[in-house]
């Protein structure tokens, strides 16, 4: 068997990083406190002191720290992004997760020993694109967008020397990664350049007699009745009136949960499995890391008879967004 499947867990702050390390993550991915990463939310992420402490804590315990620098710099702020690459390299992170080819070129030229991962924001869905990033910039791992079926993931893995990381668990969106304009259209802020989808300043919740209303920049995007599960305040998950009918016109809020696909993901040679949620709290990181560590270890011991336990599924369903958990595109028989 090839190298063991790595569990890659999210951390929006030092306590989340520590709990991920303590509960069995192999890698923890993080971001700096600015627009250089796609979870640029108020008060979230690492300042210099906390990232240094986090790297030390993780490295002492044999866990890697990755820094996401996966937004797209513009001409007038280019230096902020290159400074972030320099900082990550100086602090001794194990890899940076990049989406912008210009930044990859900068990292390769100035920090030849820094390991580069291709972010999901780079939106590379075929092996030709991944191999191009590998040949041109020395990318060593690619995170696949959540739009490929299992057969397609396998096809990519077979045709590239680059390690493949896939999403295993967490919130889903429309998955037009790196190119989605919905948040920018409504709020003027995009995950691609400013690092935030539906920034807090544009979001308002209000309890009304008709239910809890979510507004994005003043526009009503959803109303949740008594006891109805809520979702994140993003345009793609809103309910809209179309031809006198109000429904999820783009998509229904749902969470990805690929626990049952673990034996298959291991068999086809996926290198790492990613847990979404740097915006979540340490409690979530603890709960999800525990379950996935346990599941991966169990599956490695006996992949033939692996079946997710009811307790694992209950724990993961509890923290999920939306009404349902889904296997996403992985489970798509048609091509």
């Amino acid at each position: 068997m090839s190298a063991p499947l790595e569990l890659v867990c999210p951390a929006g702050g030092l306590p989340a990083l520590k709990t991920a390390v303590d509960h069995g993550a192999n890698c923890v991915y993080t971001g700096f406190r600015d627009a250089t990463n796609a979870r640029n939310f108020t008060g979230l992420n690492f300042d210099d002191a906390s990232i240094k402490q986090g790297i030390e804590y993780a490295h002492q315990r044999g866990v890697k720290v990755l820094v996401a620098l996966n937004t797209f710099p513009l001409t007038d702020n280019w230096l902020q992004w290159t400074a972030a690459v320099d900082k990550a390299a100086a602090f001794g992170v194990d890899a940076v997760i990049l989406a912008d080819p210009g930044l990859m070129e900068y990292a390769k030229r100035n920090h030849p020993r820094l390991r580069l991962h291709l972010s999901v924001q780079g939106s590379a869905t075929n092996y030709e694109a991944i191999n191009f990033y590998h040949q041109r910039f020395g990318i060593q791992r690619a995170v696949l967008p959540r739009v490929l079926s299992m057969a397609q993931v396998e096809h990519v893995v077979k045709n590239t020397p680059v390690e493949i990381e896939v999403f295993g668990f967490g919130g889903l969106c429309v998955m037009v990664e790196g190119r989605c304009a919905l948040s920018a259209y409504t709020t003027g802020t995009s995950p691609n350049c400013q690092g935030a989808c539906s920034p807090g300043k544009a979001v308002r919740y209000e309890e009304t007699p008709a239910g809890m209303e979510t507004r994005l920049n003043g526009i009503l995007i959803d109303r949740f009745g008594q006891g109805e599960r809520a979702g994140y305040p993003t345009l793609c998950k809103g309910r809209f009136e179309v031809d006198d009918e109000t429904y999820y016109a783009i998509e229904e809020p749902a969470s990805l949960n690929t626990l049952e696909l673990l034996p298959e993901l291991m068999r086809i040679g996926v290198s790492a499995i990613k847990i979404e949620g740097r915006q979540r709290s340490p409690a979530y990181v603890t709960q999800v890391t525990k379950v996935w560590r346990d599941a991966i270890d169990t599956c490695r011991r006996d992949p033939e008879h692996f079946k997710p336990t009811a307790a694992w599924m209950a724990e993961l369903n509890k923290v999920s967004e939306g009404k349902s958990a889904t296997l996403g595109a992985y489970n798509r028989p048609w091509k």
Partner: protein, 163 residues
């Protein structure tokens, strides 16, 4: 390590109605005092600068409590008027404790409609993320069960004081 899980409970409705009629100042004072004690020791002031001059309301739904306070240069202080707050956070007693103990994730409670944040959402995110970024001494709700408290009291009584 103990695997204690906070049970799901709600304060019975008659007590909620009683809580609604009780003066809100004593619990507000207790909360504000606790927050001020935590300032500088646990909670750094620097990320809280955005909170200066802001008005907060915490509604503990099943206890019938509405706690109003503000944050300023000199820390937290109770508010005596019921004018519109900048941020209102509502949940049940059990869920506030679970959040404090880092047993539940706020987004999980939000999805489950057990936590509501009204007003300035960005302010709410700042509060949430600042609290999440703090390294707390382990708050273990298992240490607050009657058996555990009794055990600790006995242990303390049995130990002769050295001074």
């Amino acid at each position: 390590m103990m695997n204690f899980k906070l049970p799901d409970f709600a304060i019975p409705a008659p007590l909620t109605r009683l809580g609604n009629r009780l003066p809100q100042l004593p619990p507000t004072l207790a909360l504000v005092t606790a927050l001020n004690l935590a300032l500088d020791r646990l909670i750094p002031r620097e990320p809280l600068e955005m909170l200066i001059g802001k008005r907060f309301t915490i509604r503990v739904l099943d206890a019938g409590m509405t706690l109003r306070f503000s944050y300023g240069e000199r820390g937290f202080r109770p508010l005596f008027d019921a004018s519109q707050p900048d941020l209102t956070i509502s949940a049940r007693t059990r869920d506030f404790i679970a959040l404090l103990a880092r047993e539940e994730d706020p987004d999980t409670l939000f999805f489950d409609r057990r936590l509501l944040m009204e007003g300035d959402t960005d302010l709410g995110l700042l509060v949430k993320n600042t609290l999440d970024g703090i390294e707390l001494p382990r708050f273990d709700p298992a240490r607050l069960t009657p058996q555990e408290l009794l055990h600790r009291l006995r242990a303390r009584l049995a130990t002769p004081h050295s001074t």
